[in-house]
């Protein structure tokens, strides 16, 4: 057993709280180590001094005060925890719903806009304009016959 380990156990040794095996180890180390023996001696002296101190009466309401304070503190911390948890419990599912709702709404609005945009914008093939153009080219001298042939060439 090292000195450090022994010093941690000295208080328990003095109070008779160690098991036999540990007690023997401590005694064996104390038999060999002078420094630890001195440490033990000091602790014994402190213990004697504490026992000899005159006792003083505690105020009558001290216990009540301590109890009250403890309960209040416990209550406060509990309340805070409850508030946060309750709020989280209340709002978390709603936020999710809000986000999902907003996303669905955006998709619906997007689809509506797309459909509106397309229904209000008729689709016309460029062929239509090109055929009209080619037909106008037929007004040019010496291109009427060629125009007729090219007008058939679709996209």
């Amino acid at each position: 057993m090292t000195c450090k380990k022994l010093r941690n156990k000295l208080s328990a040794y003095l109070d008779g709280e160690l098991r036999n095996r540990e007690k023997r180890k401590v005694q064996s180390h104390l038999g060999q180590c002078r420094v630890c023996r001195e440490q033990l001696g000091q602790l014994q002296k402190i213990g004697i001094l504490m026992q000899n101190l005159p006792s003083q009466e505690a105020p009558a309401d001290l216990e009540a005060k301590i109890l009250k304070r403890t309960i209040l503190d416990q209550g406060k911390s509990k309340k805070k925890l409850i508030d946060v948890r309750v709020l989280w419990q209340i709002f978390r599912p709603d936020l999710e719903k809000v986000f999902i709702g907003a996303a669905v709404l955006m998709v619906i609005v997007g689809c509506c806009f797309y459909l509106w945009n397309f229904s209000s914008r008729p689709e016309i093939s460029i062929n239509y304009f090109e055929k009209e153009y080619v037909h106008s080219q037929g007004m040019s001298p010496f291109s009427g016959e060629l125009t007729m042939l090219i007008s058939l060439e679709g996209e």
Partner: protein, 337 residues
């Protein structure tokens, strides 16, 4: 038998009259052009035409049999390419009926050979002669016929040009080369065979046509109006360009789709610019690039001789098509208010 022979003699006589009047004026290239246009419209002829269209990627060759009977019909039958073989265009001077036998599909458009179309061609020739320098030179022979080569060069750069080889005898155009605004050869039309007058019995031809081609279509869904009338009758505010390339004039203002679409046509005699406008629409188009002119975003594409610009501004969709340079196209688009 007798009436048919008389008919042929009359046609031949008419052909020779037109031809001889052209020969008399052959010294003046402008007169040759006028005579050539008349010959095209008024001669009775049949021939096989070959059109080669030069385009990026793959050139297209169209071979067609054509029978032209003035004031009666203009008949075109596709011989090449194989995918178009058998397709027929029958123009009776009122409608051009385009029939695809395999698909049993009939497309109808206003006639290319009506007297009105001929009149417009004559008017445009007058405009062309103002905007183009016309020069004539001997062109050798085509189909064993001596020809005159007429070159039409624009007075203002950035416009298409044309070279025409005209039969010295009849003044019929036997070959044409068209060059785009950038000077690139766009197409060549050559006659592989030609006969005056045509040897086809019009009644026999009419009998042989599919019933589909004889259907009487509905009247054309468009109205030719003055610019003021178009502005009044259109179902939206019509905008006009403040800039036009030099030499171009408004030729036609047309209202289509019951007033929802306006088509304005400008020409310098040879080149044509069309400006379409209508309430906001989605113009479906492939093979285009996104471009910007001024602050506006637009779709742009080149196809054959033409360049197209499509854009939407203040809920109006514009389609501008022209055989002019891209710079000129942008300039017109920017000037539209």
């Amino acid at each position: 038998m007798m009436p048919k022979n008389i008919f042929s003699i009359v046609l031949l006589g008419f052909a020779l009259t037109v031809g001889s009047s052209g020969i008399a004026a052959s010294q003046n290239p402008q007169e040759i052009l006028k005579s050539s246009l008349k010959a095209q419209l008024h001669l009775s002829w049949t021939g096989v035409s070959r059109v080669e269209i030069f385009q990026e990627g793959e050139n297209v060759i169209l071979v067609t049999q054509i029978i032209h009977q003035p004031r009666l019909f203009h008949f075109v039958k596709y011989l090449e390419p194989p995918m178009l073989r058998g397709r027929i265009i029958f123009d009776d001077g009122v409608y051009a009926r385009d029939y695809v036998p395999g698909k049993n599909k009939l497309n109808i458009s206003p006639s290319f050979n009506s007297s009105e179309a001929g009149k417009k061609q004559m008017e445009n020739l007058a405009l062309l002669l103002k905007n183009y320098q016309v020069s004539a030179s001997p062109g050798g022979t085509l189909l064993n016929r001596p020809v005159i080569k007429i070159s039409l060069n624009p007075l203002y750069p950035g416009n298409p040009r044309m070279v025409i080889w005209i039969d010295e005898e009849t003044h019929f155009p036997l070959k044409r080369e068209r060059y785009g605004a950038e000077g690139k050869l766009v197409n060549v039309t050559t006659f592989m065979s030609l006969e005056f007058p045509n040897q086809v019995d019009p009644q026999k031809l009419m009998k042989g046509l599919s019933l589909k081609l004889k259907e009487k279509p509905l009247p054309p869904q468009s109205l030719v109006l003055t610019m003021e009338e178009v502005k009044k009758q259109a179902k939206f505010n019509v905008s006009l360009p403040h800039y036009l390339p030099p030499g171009y004039f408004v030729r036609e203002a047309r209202l289509l789709e019951e007033g929802k679409l306006v088509k304005l046509t400008y020409t310098n005699g040879l080149g044509v610019i069309c400006l379409f406008q209508r309430p906001r629409a989605h113009v479906k188009m492939r093979y285009y690039s996104r471009v910007k002119f001024g602050q506006m975003g637009a779709q742009f594409r080149e196809k054959g001789t033409s360049r197209t610009l499509v854009w939407t501004r203040k809920n109006i969709t514009y389609v501008l098509i022209g055989d002019i340079s891209r710079e000129e196209l942008n300039r017109i688009a920017l000037s539209i208010e």
